[in-house]
């Protein structure tokens, strides 16, 4: 129950932040636009807080326990998941630096390894083939402008897509 109350408090803070910003929006110069830019968000924010309060009261009444592995870092599942979230963040962070090809290649090796996949040969073939297919299908065939990275990586990507 405790973890859900914390979650509800975070959601509540988010809605309060939204509402506070909505209240600061300028009033309209069109007299007929009675709601203005802030009116609709203010209604949403107030409704959101009312519904959240009702949910929280129900949570307090029901007292049910929720199991969230991502927050249980002492367990293997929790650690595995947390590592994967970090890996994905790193993949996204690297994609604009070293480009799509290299970052995808690294991610497609690192992610299965972190989940416990240990067949090195299959993993190597998979990561190379999957990256090639993604680059050829999206970058070359469908002209999707995949991220290129910076400096050398950028120049390198122009040779491929």
């Amino acid at each position: 129950m405790g973890i859900e109350i914390v979650f509800n408090i975070l959601v509540g803070l988010g809605i309060v932040f939204y509402l506070a910003n909505a209240l600061r929006l300028p009033t309209t110069d069109k007299p007929a636009d009675v709601l203005g830019a802030g009116g609709f968000p203010i209604i949403l924010g107030i409704l959101g807080l009312i519904v959240l309060a009702m949910i929280t009261m129900r949570v307090l009444k029901e007292k049910s326990e929720i199991h969230i592995p991502m927050l249980e870092l002492h367990s293997v599942d929790g650690r595995m998941l947390a590592i994967n979230v970090i890996l994905l963040a790193a993949y996204i962070g690297l994609i604009d630096v070293i480009g799509f090809i290299l970052s995808t290649l690294i991610y497609l090796v690192a992610c299965p390894l972190s989940i416990g996949y240990r067949k090195a040969g299959v993993l190597t073939i998979f990561s190379v083939v999957a990256t090639t297919i993604l680059v050829v299908v999206f970058g070359v065939f469908f002209f999707v402008p995949l991220p290129r990275g910076i400096n050398f990586f950028r120049e390198f990507s122009y040779m491929i897509y």
């Binding site: 968000p41 959101g48 969230i68 599942d77 994609i95 497609l108 996949y117 469908f142």
Partner: protein, 499 residues
């Protein structure tokens, strides 16, 4: 009679028919790939159409549209990643059905429903084009607001496990839709000076995050305890429904197709709204077995028939009035102009065989979906043979391409990541990711229509009640929202009386 013979000759000439086959297949491949939309598929076809006969060119693009509308369901069912925005509702029951080992059946339902929806709307288009287009033009802000409210009221069906959490989820979705420049008076809202946020948050990135990435996270934590791969015995292929099975769901096919055709005809609505409304309507049935959200076949038939029925519906205002019925139809309309045709009342006069040719192309493409579906799903089937650590990482990479390619923006990838984590927690705390998406998709339409109608009414909202169509739609929306609550109350009362 001459017009019909000419249309048949134009559409079923060897070259035109070949292009219909290629167009349907190409559309389906593009639709099934997250990041390659149906609009993009049509744009990619455009350069090839410059030297074609106008009828053949349009016929080809219409078949790409039909293929693309159906293709989105393939990755939605197999990977929980919608290939196109229109396929979002197909995930709710398509993926659970595939997980329970009924991959072929789920794909078969999607293809059959798509084909049925396309053929249904093609006939409506042929028979009632001018009348329907004129009726659609009477839709104003009040009616659009009502339509959006009907869509939002579907949350009572989407979030059946916890109605309050579903309501909050939809409110959060609508809140997210208010980010960016206010379209009525140009005020910057919740963008905090970030240029990337001025255009708002794209719901595709949110969708990829909340569904695909969150699902990968969920599967990773369960991976050591159970095999989360979507394994099937033998080859993954479309398993077609028997006529008897189809007949049992005839009402769902018809309802989905009617909803899709109507929403397709309404300018600028589109397949996403149609499929969500059709799904929400079906999911009101609380006694369905299996339950909606747990792999009910009707949960695939309704959105897919609605989504594809939108194709024929959207062609009505596009051809008859020169007003696109959906975002994809807008691209087709641009293509009309590029090849020298002006859509509008004069089009049918100057090109008398156009309407019949488009009708025949829709029918042909609808039937070809079965062949194209077999080919595309068999290719996707290879993916499913991968062990989950490999498949999961590939889904993430595919999702990233899908999010990035929307606007070639790093922000969309960040949004995907954030909503991947948020979606994971929402799932754990029994909030509804589907309701967030619903709110995000419909938020703009609802706010803008509400404010425009109030402006038209010089500050008064009475127009919502004095316009008959608007009033009917709003009453329907209220009934849609209240029905599960009333149903529960009546059931409890009945049970009490029986005691």
């Amino acid at each position: 009679m001459d017009v019909i013979i000419q249309s048949v000759a134009a559409v079923f000439s060897p070259m035109a028919f070949l292009l219909i086959v290629v167009g349907t297949l190409f559309g389906m491949v593009c639709g099934s790939l997250p990041g390659v939309s149906t609009s993009m598929a049509i744009i990619l076809c455009l350069p090839f159409t410059y030297s074609m006969d106008p009828i053949v060119a349009i016929v080809m693009m219409v078949s790409v549209y039909v293929g693309g509308a159906c293709g989105g369901s393939i990755s939605a069912i197999l990977l929980k990643t919608p290939g196109t925005p229109e396929a979002v509702a197909t995930i709710f029951d398509g993926y659970p059905m595939a997980q329970s080992g009924k991959v072929g059946e789920a794909l078969g339902l999607a293809v059959t429903a798509s084909s049925f929806g396309t053929i249904f709307s093609a006939f409506i288009m042929l028979v009632a084009s001018p009348a329907l287009a004129a009726a659609a033009l009477t839709f104003q802000s009040a009616e659009y607001f009502g339509l959006g409210m009907i869509g939002l009221c579907c949350i009572t069906s989407l979030g059946s496990k916890n109605q309050l959490k579903a309501v909050l989820s939809v409110l959060i979705g609508v809140m997210i839709s208010t980010i960016g420049i206010d379209t009525i008076n140009g005020v910057e809202r919740f963008a905090f000076g970030e240029p990337a946020l001025l255009n708002g948050i794209n719901y595709i990135s949110v969708m990829i995050g909340a569904f695909a990435i969150a699902e990968v996270f969920k599967n990773i934590e369960e991976f050591r305890h159970r095999d989360t791969s979507l394994r099937t015995e033998g080859k993954v292929s479309v398993k077609l429904m028997k006529f008897v099975e189809m007949a049992k769901m005839w009402a769902t096919f018809i309802r989905g197709s009617i909803i899709g055709t109507i929403i397709g005809i309404i300018p600028a609505a589109g397949g996403s709204i149609a499929s969500l409304i059709a799904y929400g309507y079906e999911a009101r049935d609380k006694n369905a077995s299996p339950k909606f959200g747990e792999g009910n076949p009707r949960g695939i038939v309704a959105p897919e028939s609605a989504n594809n029925a939108c194709v024929g519906g959207a062609m009505v205002p596009t051809m008859v009035l020169g007003i696109p019925g959906s975002p994809v139809a807008a691209v087709i309309m641009a293509a009309f102009m590029i090849i020298g045709l002006i859509p509008g009342p004069l089009l049918l006069k100057n090109q008398p065989i156009m309407l019949n040719a488009v009708f025949l192309a829709l029918i042909a493409a609808a039937l070809l979906l079965f062949i194209a579906g077999r080919f595309v799903t068999s290719q996707f089937g290879h993916l499913l043979k991968l062990p989950y650590p490999l498949l999961g990482s590939l889904i993430v990479a595919l999702g990233l391409v899908g999010a990035y390619s929307l606007k070639n923006s790093f922000y969309d990838v960040l949004i995907m990541f954030v909503f991947g984590v948020v979606g994971y927690f929402f799932d754990k705390f029994k909030y509804s990711n589907a309701a967030v998406i619903l709110g995000l998709i419909l938020g703009d339409l609802i706010e803008n229509s509400l404010r425009k109608q109030i402006i038209i009414g010089d500050g008064s909202g009475i127009g919502f009640l004095t316009r008959p169509v608007s009033l009917i739609i709003l009453v329907t929306a209220i009934l849609t929202f209240m029905w599960p609550i009333i149903g529960n109350y009546l059931n409890k009362k009945k049970a009490k009386n029986e005691e």
